[in-house]
């Protein structure tokens, strides 16, 4: 090689070879891999994947989330802009001015009237007649007094019926306000769910689309590994990867579930908070352990 005084580099060739039986087996393996690759390279298992249709499921066919009232709009309608005075007046009238209330009062006084006309007045007349006092002013006044007493009875019945309904005012008022807040809360939860589902759906859809497009490379990866199988570092990719949660994140996650459990439990007086916290803690630990 080389001649005297030449500036051309000298080439040395170093071929890496292996024992004939190894090379023979390698040739056979490569042929098998190539044949298998040809069979499966165009048959991606991901072609049949159908994208998540979150919008249709949550919003209806052809609708987008912009077609529905915004969250701030709902908050304004059901909470910050809600007219409490109108609600109170409506509640007051619904409870105390209901037709059924007056019907009940009239029914009660009708019973009293029956007693009056069938018993009290005939007895009164009888006594007046026996005393020969029917034509006297006392008869007239006393008869008027009977009617006055009837009017007072009517008033007592009416007041009793209506005053018994007063505690319902705040019950209905509070229920209506809780409902208004419940509507806003539910709308918020639904929107939260929509975005979580959309993001998870989009991530899954793009992941499967990605896997479908790179399917040929996934298959060729194995051939590549077989080609370099004589090298120590060769190895095919693991197509399942998972991040590991940090210790701090584990502690915070468990704390999150514990506090949530306690807050839910606090709705039940007594030991509810403690029991809720314990349950939340157990759930948090279970989730961390199962990850």
């Amino acid at each position: 090689m080389g001649s005297s005084g030449s500036s051309q580099p000298e080439h040395t060739s170093k071929a890496i070879r292996y024992a004939p039986y190894i090379e023979e087996k390698h040739i056979a393996m490569l042929s098998t891999v190539v044949n298998t690759r040809k069979d499966i390279i165009n048959t991606s298992p991901y072609t049949s994947y159908t994208d998540h249709d979150i919008n249709t499921a949550m919003l209806g066919i052809g609708y987008t989330i912009a077609d529905f009232p915004s969250l701030y709009d709902m908050f304004g309608k059901f909470m910050s802009g809600y007219n409490l005075e109108v609600l109170w007046d409506t509640t007051f009238n619904d409870q105390l001015q209901a037709d059924e209330v007056n019907v009940a009062i009239k029914t009660m006084i009708a019973l009293s009237d029956d007693d009056l006309s069938e018993k009290s007045i005939p007895e009164f007349k009888l006594h007046m007649r026996e005393n020969n006092a029917v034509s006297s002013s006392s008869f007239v006044i006393n008869k008027a007094n009977i009617e006055c007493k009837r009017t007072k009875d009517l008033s007592v019945i009416s007041a009793d019926a209506k005053f018994k309904l007063l505690p319902n005012l705040n019950t209905k008022y509070n229920t209506a306000l809780n409902w208004q807040k419940g509507v806003t809360d539910s709308y918020t939860e639904i929107m939260k769910l929509y975005y979580l589902s959309s993001m998870v759906g989009v991530d899954a859809d793009s992941e499967f689309a990605f896997r479908n497009v790179i399917w040929p490379f996934t298959v060729l990866d194995f051939e590549q590994v077989v080609l370099g199988s004589m090298q120590r570092s060769a190895g095919y990719n693991k197509y399942v990867g998972k991040r590991k949660r940090s210790d701090l994140s584990k502690v915070l996650l468990v704390a999150s579930y514990t506090v949530q459990g306690a807050s839910i439990g606090s709705m039940f007086p007594g030991w509810g908070t403690v029991i809720g916290a314990v349950i939340g803690f157990v759930i948090g630990v279970a989730i961390v352990m199962s990850e």
């Binding site: 000298e10 709009d73 909470m79 008033s155």
Partner: protein, 307 residues
């Protein structure tokens, strides 16, 4: 090797070769990879991705967060700047002197009037007519007795009603204050949700855009690994370049908020705790679960952050 008498070292190159069958297979393999690369580079799975929209859902089309009152503004209006004495006077007056109360008292008068005119007076008049006493002074006195009773019972009803409405006005005031606090709390929660959702959605939108832009390199990475296959090279990633992982989405701030804020407050329990003999309503205390929800949300968001 080397010329005679030269002092300079020989310039040599070493070529690593493999068995001819391996080189041939490798050459074919590279050709296949190249063909697949040409197809795949032009077929980005992220090209058709449509950004997830947040602002329209939260604020309405054409609006931004700046179009709405600030959180501090709402806090000032519903809490810090609220004159609770003026509110008490307003609610006291509207509870005891509202048109609804006036209407109820008037209706009570109408009810009694109806009964007097339909039952009491006819009964009195019929009896008096039978005894030819309609023109007597006794009849007039009797009639005025009934009218006097009517006035008295209506006044009693009015006074009694207003007395019983005083504790109700008190509870209404308490409810109103709780409501104002809930309005501010809910506004804060909604704002928190907005920023959480915006952060997570931005992350996924931009990740998809980055994946699409970097797609050619994602594909070329396979070809790079194929070129070095005989040196044991592999492509290091099983995900597209510029990607965020699914776990990032699932453990994002939005899901942290969702986990934590699942328990909301209430104005007051819907059932009345107790009613005294005079009809005085004892308000039940409202739950404090909202604080736990906020703490849970904070822990959840922190857990996601430190994932």
């Amino acid at each position: 090797m080397g010329g005679g008498g030269g002092g300079t070292p020989a310039n040599t190159q070493t070529m690593i070769r493999y068995a001819p069958y391996i080189e041939e297979k490798h050459k074919n393999f590279l050709a296949t990879i190249q063909a697949q690369r040409i197809i795949a580079v032009a077929n980005s799975p992220f090209e058709d991705y449509t950004d997830i929209e947040v602002d329209d859902a939260f604020f309405g089309v054409g609006y931004t967060i700046a179009s709405f009152p600030s959180l501090y503004d709402m806090f000032g209006k519903f809490m810090a700047g609220l004159d609770i004495e003026a509110l008490w006077e307003q609610l006291y007056t509207s509870t005891l002197e509202s048109s609804a109360v006036g209407d109820l008292i008037a209706a009570e008068g109408d009810l009694i009037d109806d009964e007097i005119e339909e039952s009491s007076l006819p009964r009195l008049q019929t009896g008096m007519r039978d005894m030819n006493a309609v023109m007597s002074s006794s009849f007039v006195v009797g009639k005025s007795l009934i009218e006097s009773t009517r006035t008295k019972v209506i006044n009693k009803f009015s006074a009694d009603l207003k007395y019983r409405l005083i504790p109700i006005a008190q509870e209404r005031w308490t409810t109103h204050l709780n409501w104002n606090k809930l309005v501010v709390g809910t506004y804060a929660e909604i704002m928190k949700l907005y920023f959480s959702a915006k952060t997570d959605v931005d992350e996924i939108n931009y990740a998809m855009a980055a994946k699409n832009t970097l797609w050619p390199f994602t594909v070329l990475d396979f070809e790079r690994a194929a070129l070095g296959a005989l040196q044991g090279a592999t492509n290091q990633k099983t995900d597209a370049a510029g990607a965020s992982t699914m776990s990032r989405v699932l453990s994002g701030a939005l899901s942290g908020v969702a986990m934590g804020a699942m328990v909301g407050g209430q104005v007051a329990p819907a059932t009345i705790a107790s009613t005294s003999a005079t009809g005085v309503v004892t308000p039940a205390s409202s739950g404090g679960a909202g604080y736990g929800a906020i703490a849970g949300a904070a822990f959840g968001a922190a857990a996601a952050y430190y994932y």
